[in-house]
Amino acid sequence: MKKLFRPYLSAFLLGSLLVSATACKDSDDPEPLDDEELITTMTVTLVPEGKGGTVIATFTDPDGDGGAAPTIETMALKPNTTYNATITIADDSPNGAGDITSEIRTEGNDHELFWVANPSNLLTAQKIDKDANNRPLGLAATVTTTNAGSGTLTITLKHQPGLKGATSDANKGETDIMAAFPVSIQE
């Protein structure tokens, strides 16, 4: 009987050896991640033509998905004013890369920002910058207001690798960041 169990024993010992060999690494704990793809923050800077103060609105969620909800600032604009608007995009997470606007501009052929006002007569936004293929990019725009009112301005950065055509299409591709800024237009 003893003899019979000998191979069993050696197989078992071999098995437990392998178990302990991998078990050694058990003390390893997960390390904080370095997510190079994270985008946490969109800042819109609106400089009025003529008189008036510069408006800055920020949408940010520095702890990423989940956890605390994103914070978003209201754009307080004046009626009948034309603004030169520019956007900066950043990763402001603890180990984040900071400002990545230039990266997006470099890869402009695969990206486009879409500016959508709701209600649609709240303001007009005209994209003024182009990518290397001379198609709209949308990091800069001219924003024109008319009457007083309130609503939202949703700015969406789309990743459209190989999908960007001659005409803009907000439905294509993948959303990288989407911010719906409350807008208040009054004197």
Partner: protein, 782 residues
């Protein structure tokens, strides 16, 4: 054969041991006949030349070349039919004769003479619970398909897909970590929780695939709530010589090319020593729907395995190693940002880039890269008269890398998971004690998961130990079985809260699984089975702690760290009508009650992220029932021409919300007509030719949740697919070559399947014709 001739066959030794002739008045008018077939109980093959002896009359008959036996001129009364056949246990069948009757006699293979055969061999009806086996030509016809697609031919088994190249088996509506896969005797441990994580098994390794439908926790351990899939290679070669086979496959549509080769041998100098080497290469490009190519849906696969065995009658050992490597492209369109993107894709009706996509074998992001290694060591010992002891150790290393579309173009994956698993199982099968047969066993699982690049699934270490006992009792036509199992699972999770603060929650789960079953052979080729089985499953680390966006589904999924185990109770009634000349079939009615069924429940508030709003889902528990029926029928019109018909119906309810469960397979009907040409002429070079034409109709899933919005698009319409198969064996001298052609979706139907996760984005592939050549070879000296 005449009776006069048969009497010659009465063994002398039996004749001498005969009791005195029974007291039956032989002068009365007796003109009754009893006849039937002698059959192998498990394979249902006829046994030619079996001796059937009636001690009461001292008369004997020998079954003829078709397995038929006859007794004529019998009187009314009670008799015993004693059947003997070499390699089988002698068995007595009592009969009460009141009129002429037909009775098939089934013999059980003698355990002693078959001791070197693995106990995992195919026993068609060993348990009361439904199980079905795919082997031989039926399995050969599926070569080239993924594992889950291979099993689709079994009633009650469907697939859960993510595009054309990722599929998982679904048994009676359950899948992923509720279906246990037993690969070569070792339970498969990959990241099987994911609906887009296909099993890491090369189907070319298998010579047999068996599906146990319904909870089967006792023998196979926790998690087997939906069922068990057993993938078995054929036993190693036991006769000296070298043999093997070579498969060559090619298909239209995704232009798949595949080859698989196997060589095995047995050493004439060391007869117990056998070996086998096997490898598979596979490559496919973009699949195409009837209207457009599906961008980035190619696949690559490279697998190999090696086995070495040393087997003697009293003991044996075997070492097996296999490696599975695959790269799977994922439909580019399906990688989306948020709910708005998803609704945009659904409204568009076809991928935005569909008209510009051409055929290519290239795979770009998003794709999956998966590597799975299995090392198995097995030993068995015949412990004299006590029984047989078997030990199996398995080590698996699963590495899964997922590459998403990224803004910059780095080379690193977006997610990497490495899971190491060690399993052991020790089973002792005792020799039959009176009318009892059975086995006891202990098993253990130790596994450890680590991640990189994404913390969707935490670090965890799981330890499971279990013990079970199963006994069967058989007398005459009745078989009873009962089994009990206890499992304990410890789970240690390590995770960083907010990517900073290390937390180490620990969990303990333990539970009991049981099974009781009864089988009754009514006679007249009819068997009834009744079974009640149970299984439980501890919540997985993903269900406890996953947190984040699920890209292709555009959902925000959140785990619940307070989940408890789910427990399934499965009841099944089955009838088997078999061994008949024309009509044969199996009907199975089942009811699976699962308490604390874990599922993703939609939350009222969407989750806002920087990429926009996502519908939020949280892992929640509710009681659920899955009730259904599987019907398989075949009807032989004339020898060679056969109609096969399969029907599956399932009703799945969430009892807490009083609503249907989401993502359950709809009703399906599969019918096909087969014709076997048999041998064409004497000494023909062409044999085993067959053709078959069939169609599967899949109904629209009307049983979808209505009380809570759980789906973004309505279930797609029902569809019908036409299929055809033809094949033959051509003999070039002594070398046979098997050739077959299979056609799927021959009408090039445009359709979408409810259980395909990519149905929101694109149609299913169109017509596909697959060519298969198999060349078996044998270098035995004979």
């Amino acid at each position: 054969m005449t009776l006069a001739l048969l009497s010659v066959y009465v063994p002398q030794v039996l004749a001498q041991m005969l009791p005195a002739p029974a007291l039956i008045d032989i002068s009365q008018d007796c003109g009754l006949t009893i006849s039937g077939k002698t059959l192998d109980h498990d394979s249902r093959e006829v046994l030619i030349g079996a001796t059937v002896y009636i001690p009461e009359l001292d008369r004997a008959a020998v079954s003829d070349a078709y397995g038929n036996y006859h007794f004529h001129q019998l009187c009314q009364g009670s008799y015993t039919l004693r059947v003997t056949y070499i390699g089988y246990q002698q068995e007595d069948f009592p009969v009460k004769l009141t009129g002429s009757t037909a009775r098939n006699l089934q013999l059980h293979a003698d355990a002693k003479t078959l001791s070197t055969v693995e106990i995992t061999g195919a026993h068609l009806k060993e348990q009361a619970q439904s199980q079905q086996t795919l082997e031989g030509r039926e399995l050969e016809q599926t070569r080239g398909l993924a594992l889950a697609e291979t099993l689709k031919g079994i009633a009650g088994v469907t697939t859960l897909q993510t595009g054309p190249n990722i599929s998982k088996p679904v048994i009676h509506g359950l899948h992923s970590n509720r279906v246990l896969l037993l690969n070569n005797g070792v339970r498969q441990e990959g990241q099987q929780w994911g609906s887009e994580h296909a099993p890491e098994i090369d189907p070319f390794v298998a010579s047999e695939m068996r599906v146990i439908k319904g909870a089967a926790g006792v023998r196979y351990g926790a998690d087997a709530i939906g069922g068990v899939i057993i993938v078995e290679p054929k036993p190693l070669r036991s006769v000296p010589g070298i043999s093997g086979d070579l498969h060559l496959l090619g298909s239209t549509n995704n232009r798949q090319l595949a080859t698989s080769a196997m060589v095995e041998g047995n050493l004439s100098k060391v007869p117990p020593l056998s070996w086998r080497l096997q490898g598979t290469l596979k490559k496919a490009g973009n699949a195409t729907t009837p209207d457009y190519y599906l961008e980035n849906t190619g696949l690559r696969e490279q697998n190999f395995s090696a086995a070495l065995g040393y087997n003697k009658e009293q003991f044996g050992a075997e070492v097996f190693f296999s490696q599975f490597n695959t790269k799977l492209g994922i439909l580019k369109e399906s990688h989306i940002g948020n709910l708005t993107d998803l609704l945009g894709a659904i409204a568009r009706g076809k991928p935005s880039n569909a008209d510009n996509v051409a055929f290519t074998y290239d795979i770009s992001r998003p794709y999956q890269d998966v590597h799975h290694n299995l090392l198995k060591a097995k030993g068995f010992w015949q412990l004299g008269n006590a029984g047989k002891l078997e030990f199996v150790y398995g080590w698996q290393r699963n590495m899964r890398q997922e590459y998403d579309i990224q803004r910059s173009s780095p080379t690193k994956p977006s997610l990497q998971l490495i899971l190491n698993t060690h399993t052991t199982e020790t089973v002792f099968a005792h020799k039959p004690l009176g009318r009892f047969t059975g086995s006891v066993g202990v098993s253990s699982i130790y596994q450890r998961n680590v991640y990189e690049y994404s913390a969707f699934l935490p670090y965890f270490t799981g330890t499971t130990v279990g013990a079970f006992a199963i006994e069967r009792w058989q007398k005459d036509r009745l078989q009873l079985e009962a089994g009990l199992r206890y499992d304990y699972k410890h789970l240690l999770v390590k995770r960083l809260e907010n990517d900073r603060e290390l937390q180490k929650p620990e969990y303990d789960f333990n539970n009991v699984s049981g099974t009781i079953g009864a089988m009754y052979d009514v006679g007249y080729h009819l068997t009834f089975g009744l079974s009640a089985t149970s299984a439980w499953r501890a919540p997985g680390a993903n269900e406890l702690f996953s947190q984040g966006v699920h890209h292709s589904a555009a959902t925000y999924e959140e785990g619940d760290s307070t989940l408890t185990s789910e427990q399934a109770y499965n009841f099944e009634l089955s009838t088997d009508y078999y061994g008949n000349l024309r009509l044969n079939g199996t009907l199975s009615l089942y009811h699976n009650y699962i308490s604390n069924f874990i599922y993703l429940a939609p939350q009222a508030e969407p989750r806002l992220t920087t990429r926009g709003a996502y519908p939020a889902f949280k892992y929640t528990q509710a009681d659920a029932t899955l009730t259904g029926a599987d019907l398989s029928l075949n009807y032989t019109f004339v020898p060679g021409l056969k109609l096969e018909s399969k029907t599956s119906v399932l009703y799945a309810r969430n009892l807490d919300t009083d609503d249907y469960l989401v993502y359950m397979p709809s009703n399906r009907f599969d019918n096909s007509l087969h014709y076997d040409f048999g041998k064409i002429g004497e000494g023909s070079k062409v044999t085993d030719a067959y053709v078959s034409v069939g169609g599967v109709y899949v109904a629209e899933q009307k049983r979808v949740p209505t009380k809570s919005e759980q789906d973004y698009a309505p279930a797609p319409a029902g569809y019908f697919l036409l299929t055809a198969k033809a094949g033959t064996t051509v003999h070039f001298g002594r070398q046979p070559v098997e050739i077959s052609v299979t056609g799927n979706n021959l009408l090039n139907t445009v359709y979408r399947e409810y259980l395909n996760k990519l149905r929101y984005f694109a149609d299913e592939p169109g017509r596909l014709i697959m060519f298969h050549i198999r060349v078996p070879f044998n270098f035995s000296k004979s």
